[in-house]
Structure formats: C-alpha cells, structure tokens
C-alpha cells in the first residue's frame, strides 16, 4: 500500500477516534517499505503532525539515524518474550520485610466501651472489661482478667499470639480466625491462657 493512502486512511481512523494514538509510544516497522532517508523523514514528520509520536524504528538503516529521526531498534524477539516472565518472577520474590512493629504498654484497665488499636504488640497491665475491644497488628498480652473482645494479628499476621491472666473473654481472634465465649473449653475459663494460630485453627491452652 502506498504510504500516501496509508496516511489518509490513518486520517480517517483518527477522525473517528481522535485520541487513539495520544500518549501512546509507537514503533514503526519500515523494513518492507524500501524507503530513502528523505522519505522516511517525511513519514515521521507526517505522523508527528497527526499527533503520533514515534519512539523507535524497526528495519531502518542505522546509518541514517541522526537527531531528527527516532532511534533504530533491533527486533530482539527473544528478549521481548522473556521480559514479562522475568518481571513476574521478580514480583513473586520475597516482599521487603515490614518495619519492625513497635510495642505499646497500657498501664491501666480498659473499660467497657473503650477501644484500643495499636500497630504492633500491645501489653495491658490491668483488666479488659466486658464491652471493651482491643485490636493490635501484633501480639497482645493482658496482665489481668480478659472479659472483652481481643483481636491480634489484625492485618494478617498469623504469627501473632494472645496471652491473658484470666480468660473470661467475649471473643478472641487472631488474623480473623475467632472463637466466641461459648467455644472456649470450660476447663480454661478463669484460667491463664495462651492463644495462637496453627494451620488456620485457633488454639487455646492453659498457661500452667
């Protein structure tokens, strides 16, 4: 197809969707066109006047290249096929470690109606009342009676643990796996306990 007709066809196309090429990097393959350097320069200029930005050329003579023409690209098919696989592998590589969680100590009771959230490990020196809620991204330690709701590992940390001096909780949860008061084994009630996750199962054991 003569270049002139091709350009006018591109004009028709652009009149229907004027934004089709906008912001898109375009590579022009001229290997079948047998163009001279002058004709190639005109083609690039014609495309440029229609808002088509040519980022590279395929099949052009590298000797023609100067400041007015886009760089000549080598086909490099193997590399092109490999690139996506490499990026995929890179994405699956271990994510950077999250910043070490900070520890926070609350030196008092947590009363009914109060909620506490902490990004990291949380220690309560006191009781957690019925109707209170404690949420932490790390582990939770309660040096008192646990009567409220306690949720550890809140952002998906399966390695979080919960410890309390006396279990009378309304709800205990680690990373969304939870147990309600009625699910606790009765021999653990009012006892010091340790809760953790094992294969998606929330385990609760007496501490002594």
């Amino acid at each position: 197809m003569p270049i002139g007709r091709w350009v006018s066809e591109a004009d028709t196309w652009l009149s229907r969707s004027p934004g089709f090429f906008s912001g898109k990097p375009v590579v022009v393959d001229v290997s079948r066109l047998l163009l001279t350097k002058a004709k190639l320069a005109k083609l690039i200029a014609d495309l440029g006047s229609r808002g088509i930005r040519v980022m590279g050329l395929l099949g052009a003579d590298p000797a023609w290249v100067d400041a007015d023409l886009p760089p000549v690209l080598t086909p490099g098919r193997t590399t092109e096929l490999d690139t996506p696989r490499e990026t995929r592998e890179k994405r699956e590589a271990p994510a950077p470690l999250p910043p070490a969680p900070s520890a926070r100590v609350i030196p008092s009771h947590v009363r009914s109606g109060q909620t506490l959230f902490h990004d990291g490990d949380l220690t309560i020196i006191g009781s957690v009342s019925s109707g209170a809620e404690i949420v932490a991204t790390g582990s939770i330690h309660i040096y008192g009676a646990l009567r409220g709701r306690v949720l550890a590992g809140a952002d998906g940390n399966k390695a979080a643990h919960i410890f309390c001096r006396r279990l009378a909780a309304e709800l205990v949860a680690i990373d969304g796996y939870y147990r309600m008061a009625e699910d606790f084994p009765s021999d653990l009630l009012e006892k010091p306990v340790h809760a953790w996750l094992e294969d998606g199962d929330l385990k609760i054991n007496a501490l002594d």
């Binding site: 947590v110 009363r111 009914s112 109606g113 109060q114 009781s127 019925s130 109707g131």
Partner: protein, 271 residues
C-alpha cells in the same frame, strides 16, 4: 479547699439521687458546708428527695446564664442549716446548659462551700458529661447486678477521659458505692456479691448500702435517710461513707452471708 463530687452510674434507677441527698445530709450533719446540685435538666428529682420541691424559684440554668445570682437560686435545707440545694430546671431543654455556664457556677460554688455534690443524670450524654466535668472525686453508684456493673464500668472509662482532671493529665479519684445490696439474695447467688463487683470494677469501696424500706420511705417523705431515720442501717452506711469521703479510716462492714452482720439485722425482713 472545696471538693466537687459527682454521683454517677450510667444506668438509671440505681440510687444516684438518693445517694446525693444522703451523702449531702451526712456531710452537713458533721458540720460541713454542702451544696447538692441537680444536673438532670428536664427530669429533676433531687428537689423531691430533699423535700424542697415547693421552694424552687430559680434553678441551675438561671444561674449559669447569669440571669440571677447564685445566692438567689440556692435553697437552704430547713433541717440542716449548712445544706443547700441548687435545683435543675424541669421545663428547659438539656442544651440550655453550656460548658461555660456550668464552669462559672462551679467556680462560684467552690468559693462558698466545702463540698459540692453533683447529681448526674443517667446515660452518657451531655448532661452526664457536664456533671462530671469539674469533679475532683467521683462516687460510682452500682447495684449488685451485671447491667449496672457494666454501665458503671463504662462511666469509669468516661471519668478517665472526659473530665477536666483527665484533660490535665491527672487522675480523678473514684469510689465505688454499692447500693440496694441484699446480703441474703447475694448469699443465695441471686445477686453478684461484693467481691465480684469490686473484682470487675477495680475501684476502692466507699460503702455498701443495704436494700431497705427505709430508703424508699425517706424518698417519699422528702427527707434524706440520715435525717429521717438516723439509726437505720442505710443511714449508718451513708454516714460511714461520708466519713470515708472526708478521709477518715472507718472499718468496712462486709455482709457476706446469712451469718454476716447485715443479715442478722435485715435477714428476717428480706427472707
């Protein structure tokens, strides 16, 4: 130095108003200058319990808005001359009470009284938070049953966050007053016992007021129980509590079972 006491509970009907009147009367009986202030705008009752309902001319809102002077609104008790009442408005809306207005009244009351006892409305809304805002001491009134205990727990959380003292980083002094305590029913396990309540609330115990017909009779007579029947169990319990508030070391009587002291006194009637 004046002490502002808030009598609060969260839950209604546990005995805040009775306690305000009785503590006020007990403190006044030992010579202290006492003002009892009703914060329950729209549902006032302290005037009835104090027997002053026909003597209310001006109320807390008039004073807070600067319409009248504090001395014009204070009603002196007819039996105890160091006991005064500042009534709430029955006709106005709760929003008529402003932060600044209440602060002004409290400042003035502190100048002329030893004790200012604020009777908080039930709930955790504006009226209750205004009543506790200026308090130095809180008396948390609790019945030995789970809903009252939980509501008290909620109120303690608010006392530690919504008072001026808490805002200054200080701790408000809090006391637990267990009211309507029936040792026989607690002994049978129908009610929480004293240890359960103290264990859950973790507050120092100011006193245990036994459930008694005397209290009901006193309210209906419009005479606080330490005035109407000073020898009765509740009157003595309130008087002990008032002395503890003043810093005296008064041994606590723990009614634990049928053989306890309170059971001997009240057991026959309750059984």
């Amino acid at each position: 130095m004046a002490q502002v006491v808030v009598v609060t509970s969260g839950k209604g009907g546990v005995g805040k108003t009775t306690t305000t009147a009785a503590l006020g009367a007990s403190l006044a009986q030992s010579g202290q200058r006492v003002a009892v202030v009703d914060f329950d705008v729209g549902l006032r009752n302290l005037d009835l319990v104090m027997g002053a309902e026909r003597r209310v001319v001006y109320d807390l809102i008039y004073v807070s808005q600067g319409t009248v002077k504090l001395s014009q609104a204070l009603i002196r008790d007819k039996r105890l001359e160091t006991l005064f009442l500042l009534a709430a408005s029955q006709t106005r809306d709760k929003d008529a009470l402003t932060d600044d207005g209440v602060a002004k009244v409290m400042r003035e009351l502190r100048e002329s009284f030893d004790w200012i006892i604020c009777d908080s409305p039930a709930g955790i809304e504006r009226g209750a938070t205004l009543a506790m805002r200026h308090a130095d001491v809180a008396v948390v009134v609790t019945n030995p049953e789970v809903s009252s205990v939980r509501d008290s727990d909620r109120i303690v959380g608010l006392l530690d966050s919504k008072t001026d003292k808490a805002a200054r980083g200080e701790r408000i002094e809090k006391h637990l007053l267990l009211t309507r305590y029936d040792p026989v029913r607690a002994g049978r396990g129908d009610m929480l016992n004293v240890d359960d309540v103290i264990d859950i609330l973790s507050l120092p115990l100011l006193g245990i007021i036994p459930e008694s017909e005397e209290v009901l009779r006193a309210s209906n007579l419009g005479s606080p129980v330490p005035i109407s029947s000073p020898k009765s169990g509740p009157a003595r319990a309130y008087s002990d509590a008032a002395r503890r508030l003043m810093g005296e070391d008064v041994p606590m009587v723990f009614p634990t079972d049928r053989n306890g002291l309170f059971s001997k006194i009240f057991g026959r009637r309750a059984a």
